[in-house]
Symmetry: C2
Subunit: 311 residues, 2 copies
C-alpha cells in the first residue's frame, strides 16, 4: 500500500463522486474549544461516503466480471451506494437488506434500480443470502467494509479533507464495520503532517474499542444503538490497518449521540444521521484533550427517516 494507490483511486472515482464541502461552525468551535472542520459526506451522492468505496470496488472489476453484476448486504448506506454506483456504470446490483433496515434506505435502493432481497437482521443471514445470490448469478460479492478497494475508496474523503486543511492535528471517524476509519487512517498516514486518527463508537456497540484493547476482532452481543450504521464489526482486512494507524477509539452514550445530532441540525442546519453524530459526541466528551487543536470530522451520511426522529 502506497500513497500512489490512494491518488490513483481518487482519480479513478472522481467523475462519479462529489468533492464534498468542508463546513465550520463558530458556535461548535467555541463549545469544543477547538477549530473544527466538518467534511460533509452527507452531501455525497446517495447521501453517504459509501459511494466512494462502492464506485472504486466496481471500477476495479475486470469487464467480464462486471457484466455478471455485483451483490452486497447492507443495512442501508452501502446498499444505496452500490445500487447507484452500479447504475452509473451499467452494472446489475443485487442488494441483501435486513428487514430492520430504515424504509428511507430501501426506497433509495429501489430508486437507483437495485434489486432488493430481504433477510433476517443478523450478519449470518445476510451473508448466507448474499453467498447464494453470488453462486446463482455469478455476481461478485462486495463487502461493505472489509475489502481493500472499498477501504481505499472511503479514504478519499479524508484525502480531500487534508487537501482542504493540510494542517489538521486529528481526524475523527465513526466506527462501524471499519472501512471508513481504516481508509481515513491510511490517508492521514500518507498525506497528513502528523495527523492522528480517532474513532467514535456507541457504548452499545463498542466492538472496535474492545478489539483494540484485546488485540483481536471482538463481536457485539447486543447492538441497542440508534446509530444504525455502526452495528457491524471489524474485519481481517481493516483491523490490521486500524491497529497500526488509529490512535484511540472513544465511546459515547445514546443520549450523547442524540444531543450531538440535534446540535448539528440546529446550529449547522445540516441533516446528519445518528451514526455521524457519534464523532461529535466523542469530541464533546473528550474536548479537554483537543483544546486549540485543528480537528477534522468526517460527517459520514445524512440518510435519516424523517418519520422516525429521536426528537
Amino acid at each position: 500500500m502506497r500513497q500512489e494507490t490512494l491518488a490513483a483511486c481518487r482519480k479513478r472515482i472522481s467523475s462519479y463522486v462529489h468533492n464534498t464541502p468542508v463546513l465550520s461552525s463558530r458556535l461548535i468551535n467555541e463549545l469544543i474549544g477547538a477549530e473544527m472542520f466538518f467534511k460533509c459526506e452527507n452531501f455525497q451522492r446517495a447521501g453517504a461516503y459509501k459511494m466512494r468505496g462502492a464506485t472504486n470496488a466496481i471500477l476495479q472489476l475486470p469487464d467480464g466480471q462486471r457484466a455478471k453484476g455485483v451483490v452486497t448486504h447492507s443495512s442501508g448506506n452501502f446498499a444505496q451506494a452500490v445500487a447507484l454506483a452500479a447504475k452509473s456504470l451499467g452494472v446489475k446490483a443485487h442488494i441483501v437488506m435486513p428487514t430492520s433496515a430504515p424504509e428511507v434506505k430501501k426506497v433509495g435502493v429501489k430508486q437507483y434500480e437495485g434489486i432488493i432481497y430481504e433477510c433476517q437482521p443478523t450478519l449470518a443471514a445476510r451473508q448466507a443470502m448474499a453467498d447464494k445470490i453470488a453462486e446463482e448469478t455469478g455476481a461478485t460479492f462486495l463487502h461493505p467494509s472489509n475489502d481493500i478497494n472499498v477501504i481505499i475508496g472511503q479514504g478519499t474523503a479524508a484525502m480531500e479533507l487534508l487537501e482542504d486543511q493540510p494542517d489538521l492535528h486529528a481526524i475523527f471517524c465513526p466506527v462501524g464495520g471499519g472501512g471508513l476509519i481504516a481508509g481515513s487512517a491510511l490517508a492521514a498516514h500518507f498525506l497528513g503532517r502528523d495527523c492522528k486518527v480517532y474513532g467514535g463508537e456507541p457504548f452499545e456497540a463498542d466492538d472496535a474499542y474492545r478489539s483494540l484493547q484485546s488485540g483481536k476482532i471482538e463481536g457485539n452481543e447486543t447492538v441497542n444503538t440508534i446509530a444504525d450504521g455502526l452495528r457491524t464489526t471489524l474485519g481481517d482486512k481493516n483491523f490490521p490497518i486500524i491497529k497500526e494507524h488509529v490512535t484511540e477509539i472513544f465511546r459515547v452514550t445514546e443520549d450523547e449521540i442524540v444531543a450531538a445530532m440535534r446540535l448539528v441540525w440546529e446550529r449547522m442546519k445540516i441533516i446528519i444521521e445518528p451514526s455521524s453524530a457519534v464523532t461529535l459526541a466523542a469530541l464533546i466528551r473528550n474536548k479537554k484533550s483537543f483544546r486549540n487543536r485543528r480537528v477534522g470530522v468526517i460527517i459520514s451520511g445524512g440518510n435519516v427517516d424523517l418519520n422516525n426522529l429521536p426528537f
Copy 2:
C-alpha cells in the same frame, strides 16, 4: 439608488456576515427540468439572511444614536439577527416578540443577549410596544423589512449569488414583509444579465400577490400558514421597488410547502424552514415556465423548532 450603494453595503457588512455557499442537487434539477442554484442563507449567522439587513441598518446609524440602542419587533429571524448584529457591534438590542413566536427563535435572541419584550401576536400590538420602548429609551426603531438600509442589506445575498452564477435567468425569493424580494430585485436589476425576480407566497397569506394585482398594499385577514416568516405585509418603502422590478408572485398551498421542505431535507440534507420551502414549491408548481433555465433560489433561513415538525 445606484449599483454603488449595493457594493458599498456589501463591503460595509462583509466582516459581520458569511458569504454563504451556493448548493445544487442533481435530483432536484431533474425534477424541475431546470438548473437550480440554492443560495444557502440558512447557513448565515443567526440562521437567516436577516443578519445582512440588520447589520447594515445598525452600521448606518450615527455613533450617538447607536449608543442609545436599537429596538425592533419580529416573529423570529429578524429578532435574532438584530440581537446578534447589535451584540457584534456593542449596541443594546430591545426585541419585541409576539407570544406566538417559535421557542427556538426566542432562545436564539436570549443567547445573543437581546432583551425580549413579549406582546400579543398582532402587528398593531407589536408596533405599539416597540414605539413605547423607543420613546422611553431613545433606541432607534429598525423595521424588519420596510427600511431602505435593511432592504439593501438583504439584497447582498442575491448579489453574491449573481457573482457566483452571473447568467441566471431568474431568482426566486419568499415574500413576507417584502425586504428580501425588494433587495434581491435591486441586485438583479443592477447586476443581473436580464435576470428576472419571482416571489413565492402561501395562498394563506397572499397579500403581496393581491397587492401586485390591485396596485396598492393589501393586508391579510387571516394568516393560517406554516410559513411563519411570511405572515407580514408589504410596506411603502419596498412596495414601489417590488412593483417596478418583480416579474410575478406565485402562490402555493400548505401541502406543497411541506412537501418541498421535506424534499430539501431528504435530498439536499440541509435544514430549511417552511418559509424557505415556499419558493421551491412555487417552482415545482410552475416548472413548465422554467424549463432548461438557470434559476437561483434564496434559501432564506433554517430556524425550525425540532420539537414541532410538520412530518
